[in-house]
């Protein structure tokens, strides 16, 4: 039941995050949704993941997003698309939900199961043992992403640079 509560919170704030017309509000609702997701992880017994979620997302990503929002004031351009596209988007979104939900529920059924996840030690061993190869690559990826981001940020871009 705890999960129902956290889940509802996550879903609700997620909904608001994608519908809110206020850019800033949307970002804040995202914070709530991601935090709710972290809660879900905790409820499911994946403490490590939950914490990482909280730290990386809520702590870092969202802060970045907020910064970006501040830096790119929308300047009167509408943030949402026209009603036609929104309708289509809703359709596609609902379709995704139905498809995924149907498939997942058909596979699992309503029955309850024991939560029996690996311990945090096992997860850590997994990362640094079994999955050390993707982990290595991941470090490379992070490095390069940062370098690229910095380089892009430093590069003088064209366009209306002078005007703004």
């Amino acid at each position: 039941m705890l999960f129902v509560a956290v889940g509802l919170l996550t879903a609700g704030s997620g909904l608001l995050a994608v519908t809110s017309r206020q850019v800033l509000h949307a970002a804040l609702w995202l914070v709530v949704a991601l935090a709710g997701l972290a809660g879900c992880y905790l409820v499911l017994g994946a403490e490590l993941v939950g914490l990482v979620q909280l730290l990386v997302y809520v702590g870092a990503v969202v802060v970045l997003i907020l910064f970006a929002l501040m830096l790119t004031r929308s300047g009167g351009v509408p943030v949402v698309t026209g009603p036609a596209q929104r309708g289509a988007a809703a359709l596609v979104g609902a379709g995704t939900t139905v498809l995924l939900g149907g498939a997942l529920l058909a596979g699992s059924g309503w029955g309850a199961v024991q939560v029996a996840g690996p311990t945090n030690t096992q997860v850590a061993e997994g990362i640094l043992g079994t999955y050390v190869w993707p982990f290595e690559l991941l470090s490379g990826l992070l490095l390069l992403a940062l370098v690229a981001a910095v380089a892009i940020a430093r590069t003088p871009t064209g366009g209306r640079e002078g005007e703004t």
Binding site: G7, T10, G14, A17, V18, V23, L30, A33, L34, L37, C40, Y41, L44, A46, L48, V49, V52, V56, Y57, V61, A68, L69, T72, S74, G75, V77, V79, V80, T81, Q85, A89, G93, T96, T97, V98, L100, L104, L105, S108, W110, A112, V113, V115, A116, P118, E125, G126, T130, Y131, L138, A145, A148, A149, V150, I152, A153, T157, G159, R160, E161
Partner: protein, 110 residues
Amino acid sequence: MIRPALPYLLVAVLAGLGVYGILARRHAVLVLIGVELLLGAAGLLLVTVGQTTTATDPAAATSGQVLTLFVITIAAAEVVLALALILALFRARGHVDLHADLDPREEAAR
């Protein structure tokens, strides 16, 4: 004890919301928010699977959580790059509207 159906449902809802968010927004950062929700759905699914199925194989047992961690990290890397680009776009164009014409075909196609 937990009913896996519940998180699965949440996964479906979050994925749907993410898709909607991606499609319904034209502000680049807001599209990014949709993507985050989509990734969240993926993570939740991974964790749920990892926590509710019993696997003897350690590699399989940890894969749910480990993959979630990977996804989170990759997402972070992406966000970094994305935001840098969005800033660059803003500096170049003065907006971050993804609904603006991107295609310079008019110049090419005479």
